[in-house]
Symmetry: none
């Protein structure tokens, strides 16, 4: 099985371009050839009228109920940073930031600090507060991740990061069960100031006129909940090809192999052909391969119709390469994780077109891949959570219920 998610691909009719969507305006022979030999439909990735985040959307596309599987961004960032989590652990995404001695945030990103954060991390990782162990890892620039491991933790605490300049917030439990977690979190933040403010790297930064990275500001608390991995849940060997850290994090969190693909950056310069080639290679060793192509979303956020058309045509070239080599028994699905209409410049609740072909797929009369054509297809209107089970069915990997 091969699932290709064109991030933010779908759109709304745009007046200036004869009421066409970028997908309708693009030359897309490979996409259309998949539509011709398979089934099309529309998909509410989360539910009708819900605007999907990239994180919740991908959880749904992997067959999880995002309302129970998603508690916050922390665990996804932790997975992206390579920190292992167990059930009961609580993770936070954090910034290295700059505070003055009265604990006022003067720079939420410590001047977008470029180097030395690995040394700062070492000062915090391995800390023990009460009976809770602290795992800590730096990310790119000012970004970092914090994991608490210990008994009696609960992610339902308020954030420490004020999200603007001003006083560092004191975390409060949002439910009585989270009292301990809030206490440990506040203690961690104080300790981060004590340890980082005195760090030699910050002495040097001050000397160079740079803001010191002298505190950690956690937010987006989350726990793993009852998330069983995709290999456990479906009995599949899974791999994910993605450029964006967030998506890579989700892939790791659900138990996929996530190889580094040369040239896969997640930006407008992503090397589509390299991603396509990697996907084909991974299909030799994996039951399920997932590919995320991010660039359409970026053009949508930029409100750039012509750029989005161009990106769709590049994705189509990637698909052409894949189709040339793909065995007809492989069930291939092409869709989006959400719409990012150029007129909205953000995610929207509009359902996304989806098509599936190969394996035991039926065929319908749809001949093109776009928001209007797909709506008359044989898949009807489905939910994001249903996509993987439908693919499993067409690949004869679904389980019988009853006798």
């Amino acid at each position: 099985m091969l699932m290709i998610i064109c991030d933010g691909l779908s759109d709304r009719p745009v007046k200036l371009f004869d009421h066409k969507t970028p997908l309708q305006a693009a030359k897309r022979p490979a996409m259309n050839s998949i539509a011709k030999r398979g089934m099309s439909g529309m998909m509410d990735v989360i539910a009708p009228g819900v605007v999907p985040g990239s994180d919740t959307a991908h959880l749904a596309l992997f067959g999880y109920d995002p309302y129970t599987a998603y508690t916050g961004r922390g665990p996804i960032e932790a997975a992206g940073a390579g920190l292992k989590m167990s059930k009961g652990d609580v993770a936070f995404r954090c910034n290295f930031a700059t505070v003055d001695p009265s604990m006022n945030v003067t720079d939420r990103r410590a001047g977008r600090i470029k180097s030395g954060t690995d040394e700062l991390s070492k000062l915090l990782s391995g800390l023990k507060i009460e009976d809770v162990e602290v795992a800590f890892k730096e990310g790119s620039e000012h970004r970092c991740v914090l994991v608490f491991k210990g008994p009696g933790l609960d992610h339902r605490v308020s954030e420490v990061d004020p999200h603007t300049e001003g006083e560092v917030l004191v975390s409060k439990p949002l439910v009585p069960e989270a009292t301990k977690t809030a206490r440990i979190l506040n203690e961690f933040v104080s300790e981060s100031y004590r340890r980082l403010d005195a760090a030699s790297i910050n002495t040097k930064r001050r000397k160079d006129g740079l803001p010191p990275a002298n505190i950690v500001l956690p937010r987006g608390a989350g726990s793993l909940g009852n998330l069983d991995s995709m290999p456990e849940r479906y009995g599949l060997k899974c791999a994910g090809v993605a450029g964006v850290t967030l998506v890579k994090g989700i892939c790791r969190m659900v138990g996929m192999d996530v190889p580094d693909v040369p040239g896969a950056t997640g930006g407008l310069d992503t090397d589509y052909l390299s991603k396509g080639g990697s996907a084909l290679k991974l299909l030799d060793s994996h039951d399920f391969v997932f590919v995320n192509v991010k660039a359409g979303d970026v053009a949508g956020h930029d409100g750039d119709f012509m750029k989005k058309v161009e990106i769709i045509e590049s994705i189509d070239s990637m698909l052409e390469l894949i189709l040339r080599e793909l065995h007809e028994d492989v069930v291939i699905a092409v869709t989006a994780d959400h719409s990012t209409p150029v007129d909205v410049r953000d995610h929207s609740a509009d359902p996304v077109p989806v098509m599936i072909a190969g394996g035991g797929s039926r065929m319908d009369s749809v001949k093109e891949f776009d928001e209007v054509s797909a709506a008359s297809g044989g898949l009807g209107r489905i939910r994001g959570r249903d996509l993987l089970p439908i693919m499993l069915g067409m690949a004869d990997r679904a389980k019988k219920f009853g006798a």
Copy 2:
């Protein structure tokens, strides 16, 4: 956003009229123009194979789960009568009825009593039974509403109204938690007989040869449950235009402004143009305006095909007036709360056609609005509960879940 519900609009093919539905037989240029510029689909207002009541249907159309939001008709009638309810209160719809001294019902509607019920209400409102306060209000003719306010109440009690001539029933708790409520209810019914039988208005009725309104028969117990209002839930200022008391009650219950519209009677003589004009005016001051046009349902109940066609054409004129003034950014939805086929003369479980246009709506290839054309539209088959979220999405008022 503008939601127009044509009550009981949709139908089944009728043999005598060349297997057309009244909607297919009607001239409906305004409806068709909306279909042309938007998306169509079919909608199970509650769920496939469930015959919607007008009350449960409207709750679903406003985005509520009718299975948890609807416990009985009482709270809707209370809201319609202007009685305020709080969580924990239990409401009943009631009749003023006539009983003989051995508590046998001889007339369930007290001769459809026309006047003086306000005085009878005063004898009952403000009563206190144990620690429970009684609020009571008369409606039109023999109809009235009862609300219990106090600790430890539960709506799950059997009805007092025998629904036919015969003995007044003793209410029984259907669950142990409702023991107190049943006891209070039975005491209230006895007390209503003691107070009303002796009322001067009934002495006069007996003298005039009219049946006395000497007892109150409650039925349709319900509580508010966890119903949050539409303004709370969606952050929208909402208004409802309706003629029928029941629909007005639901609108008030969910927190809409419900202005009195001149000429909006809910019958066959409803002034459609007045309703349309009111809706347009309300859109200036409200985020969401709802219009219920009742008459199609009445013609369905009467089994009158030609009358239904005529009513649909009048509704189309109302839509024409609305479309002439409506800004293209307003998301407009036109649908029904249920089907009332003329061959059935009652509500049926047949899904209803639905169309949405304006705002960020996409377009599909459907060009007419009827039960058959809509079924091939781009909305697919949705549920009543999904309609408002989909409209919110197209109006860019939906919330993001995740990041």
